[in-house]
């Protein structure tokens, strides 16, 4: 059993979950995820690590309440116990001295990009972090991200905070201010991953995005998370979840993601952001 240390809504629909999982925290690296199963009858859902504390053995996750299982997680409170937190799964995000790195985080990705930003900065990179959301009240962790970023760009679609715009606007700013990225890393929903790939490919640099495929076991056993990268079949849970977006078959991926739309819609109480 894994004890919940804290659960609170940090911005509308996005929750912070802190869980005691010392074994996982000892090994976890930026870009990895865990699978949570909230007990009998639940789904196994993949959620990325947003932060951790090795002394206290706690893992922090930021999740969006989109459906039944995340809805169940949103009801947890400190002291509750959940039977399954398994990980760390997936390959860590590649961290090295790349030079200038643009890190993009949207919705839950503003959380999961944080360990990546931190690790990149500690490796001596020049880190430009872009926070992206619909409106001012959906941005969070600006202070945490600023601590390890050389520059933070805020984007809101309604212009209520920072610049008005979406992924394209971020790219405009990067280009116009003469920043020459050596690598782009984006965390967030599939729309964000796809658009980042589209807007940044012209730099001819790796555009590393997370692929939030449907998953079950997360250990390479079922193959539901498969996708095509560079013409080859890959399992996102063991070969990813990070891939260079330039080589991903996005059309196939978008269709695969919608497989259970009817079933999920049947169970959904509450719908999150626009993109899936």
């Amino acid at each position: 059993m894994f004890e919940i240390v804290e659960r609170k809504m940090i911005v509308p629909n996005l929750h912070l979950l802190v869980v005691h999982a010392p074994d996982i925290v000892e090994e976890i690296q930026p870009g990895q995820f865990v699978i949570i199963h909230a007990g009998e009858g639940s789904e196994r859902i993949p959620l990325s690590a947003a932060d951790w504390n090795r002394e206290e053995g706690t893992l922090t996750i930021v999740f969006m309440e989109v459906g039944t299982s995340t809805g169940k997680l949103a009801l947890l409170k400190a002291g509750d116990k959940i039977p399954t937190v398994v990980g760390p799964l997936g390959k860590p995000t590649e961290i090295d001295h790349f030079g200038t790195v643009v890190c993009i985080g949207g919705c839950f990705g503003m959380g999961s990009i944080y360990p990546v930003v931190r690790a990149l900065k500690q490796k001596g990179n020049y880190v430009v972090t872009i926070m992206e959301g619909r409106s001012k009240n959906l941005l969070y962790w600006e202070n945490k991200l600023s601590e390890f970023s050389d520059k933070v760009i805020k984007l809101t679609r309604d212009g209520s905070y920072g610049y008005k715009g979406h992924i394209k606007k971020g790219e405009d700013i990067i280009r116009e201010t003469g920043i020459k990225p050596d690598r782009v890393i984006a965390n967030g929903c599939m729309t964000l991953s796809y658009k980042t790939t589209k807007e940044y490919s012209h730099f001819n640099i790796p555009v590393i995005v997370t692929l939030n495929t449907i998953m079950i076991d997360g250990t390479g056993m079922c193959g539901v998370c498969r996708c095509t990268v560079d013409g080859k079949m890959k399992f996102a849970c063991v070969d990813g979840p990070d891939f260079d977006g330039r080589y991903v078959d996005w059309e196939e991926l978008a269709k695969r993601r919608k497989q259970y739309l009817n079933e999920e819609a049947f169970l959904v109480h509450h719908s999150g952001c626009g993109g899936i």
């Binding site: 079950i216 056993m221 079922c222 193959g223 539901v224 919608k258």
Partner: protein, 466 residues
């Protein structure tokens, strides 16, 4: 002197749910013997002086011995004898391919009526389960040695059971949220009810085995680090990596690996959706590719989820079908349609990415290949289209690479299996043993258990002398 028995060739049939009922429910198909049936069948055994059946059993159960006990209505005696060699008789009685192991060797097989060893084994195990109190065997003094068993399938269960009895401190680690390996996530409820497996796991825990689920060795902790905590480690991580056909269209929606399909239904209980939250599609026309037990299980699961037409598409002929005869017959009775000598070539989808049809070629059999079976050869120009809304790929699995990939120094073969010493199960790494599907590639429950037993013996020897 014993009088010469007259040969009784009336094999006692085991009652089953009628096919027109069972094809739509997940309850167990075979209902098991009544005590009278078990005794009658046991009495047919000739109690051979040189029993051939034992040679056919990979773990050398004293077959005439346990059968004699049943004939004498000493059921406690029969289960005791069984458990000396086989710690999972309730499982093996149900899923072992007896028809090619012990039963085929039985002297009465020549007359077409071998003793139903499997059904009797199952009967004895079920008898025990019905007793109010399960008798726990005596456990040796604690030796103070710590053993980690990685993977809770039949191989791991055997090692854990054997080593706890001789007094070691055993912890079993499992990646998934429920123990049992393929017995839990793969083999369906209608062939092996979940309660049978959980009973065995409970029993191990009663003996003192500690169980840690949700622990992926190689991810949660490296094997190297575990070796600092444990005196000896057994790897029984199975063959869990699904193969695909590598043909166009395999990533279409409606195309599944057998593992995905079965895991959704068995482990995640999707057949109770939406009471449980993991969904499974209720497809109308389903093609299952492959001819083994896994393929039969998928086809019969699809029927039970309400499919109107279910096909098995197999590239060789009925003679080469690797599935157990009983499962083939059950599938056929339930209405699964068999397309032998047929090979899927391409999968076509609609504009939303859903499978629409499968293009197949007809095959003919040529000369025998390395496996000794006649090689299927494509007949040019024989392509035809099967309209289909789901395709389940059940053509095999390779070993899960998580541990080999994260463990430098652990020798693996080209196929990804862990290399071990045949007699002891020892790997190339000090204090690490392995057995089951991770060593042999996908095989059988009983072979995994046999390998576990061998490794446990060698581990115990090492632990006692070190």
């Amino acid at each position: 002197m014993a009088e010469k028995k007259t040969l009784n060739l009336n094999r006692v049939e085991m009652p089953k749910q009628p096919h027109f009922i069972r094809r739509r429910n997940f309850n167990e198909v075979a209902l098991g013997y009544t005590p009278e049936m078990a005794v009658a069948e046991a009495k047919r055994c000739l109690q051979c002086k040189k029993p051939l059946c034992i040679d056919g059993c990979p773990v050398e159960i004293d077959i005439p011995g346990f059968i004699k006990c049943i004939a004498d209505e000493d059921f406690a005696g029969s289960i005791k004898l069984l458990k000396e060699k086989n710690c999972l008789p309730a499982v093996c009685g149900r899923v072992c391919p007896q028809e090619e192991q012990c039963e085929i060797k039985c002297i009465l097989s020549k007359k077409g009526a071998p003793i139903a060893v499997g059904r009797l084994e199952r009967y004895a195990a079920e008898w025990e389960a019905l007793q109010a109190q399960i008798v726990l065997p005596e456990i040796n003094k604690n030796t103070g040695k710590k053993v980690a068993v990685i993977g809770s399938g039949p191989a791991g269960i055997t090692v854990a059971g054997d080593l706890i009895l001789v007094g070691h401190d055993v912890t079993m680690f499992e990646a998934l949220h429920e123990p049992g390996g393929v017995l839990t996530y793969g083999i369906p409820e209608f062939r092996l009810p979940g309660r049978v497996v959980s009973r065995e796991i409970d029993y191990l825990q009663k003996l003192g085995v500690k169980l840690v689920c949700n622990y992926v060795v190689g991810k949660t902790k490296s094997l190297k680090k575990m070796l600092e905590e444990y005196d000896a480690i057994f790897l029984g991580t199975g063959a869990g990596l699904p193969w695909f056909m590598e043909i166009p269209g395999e990533n279409l929606n409606g195309v599944y690996s057998a593992n995905e399909y079965l895991t959704r239904v068995n482990l995640m209980r999707a057949f109770q959706y939406p009471k449980t939250y993991t969904p499974v599609k209720r497809h109308k026309k389903v093609a299952v590719v492959g001819g083994g037990n896994v393929a039969m299980d998928c086809a019969r699961t699809a029927l039970r989820l309400g499919a109107e037409e279910v096909y098995i598409v197999y590239r060789r002929s009925r003679t080469e079908l690797p599935a157990r005869l009983e499962e083939f017959e059950n599938a056929e009775e339930e209405g699964v349609i068999f397309h032998f000598l047929t090979l899927p070539e391409k999968l076509f989808g609609d504009e939303n990415g859903w499978l629409k049809e499968i293009e197949c070629s007809r095959m003919e059999l040529g000369e025998p290949d390395q496996s000794g079976r006649r090689k299927p050869i494509r007949i040019d120009g024989s392509e035809f289209i099967m309209p289909m809304d789901a395709c389940i790929v059940a053509i095999g699995n390779s070993p899960n690479p998580i541990i080999p990939n994260s463990t430098p120094g652990l020798e693996v073969s080209k196929k990804g299996t862990i290399v071990v010493d045949e007699n002891t199960g020892k790997t190339s790494m000090d204090r690490v043993w392995a057995g089951g599907d991770i060593v042999t590639g996908a095989a059988t429950v009983i072979l995994a258990m046999g390998a576990g037993r061998k490794a446990a013996r060698s581990m115990h020897e090492y632990l006692t002398n070190s």
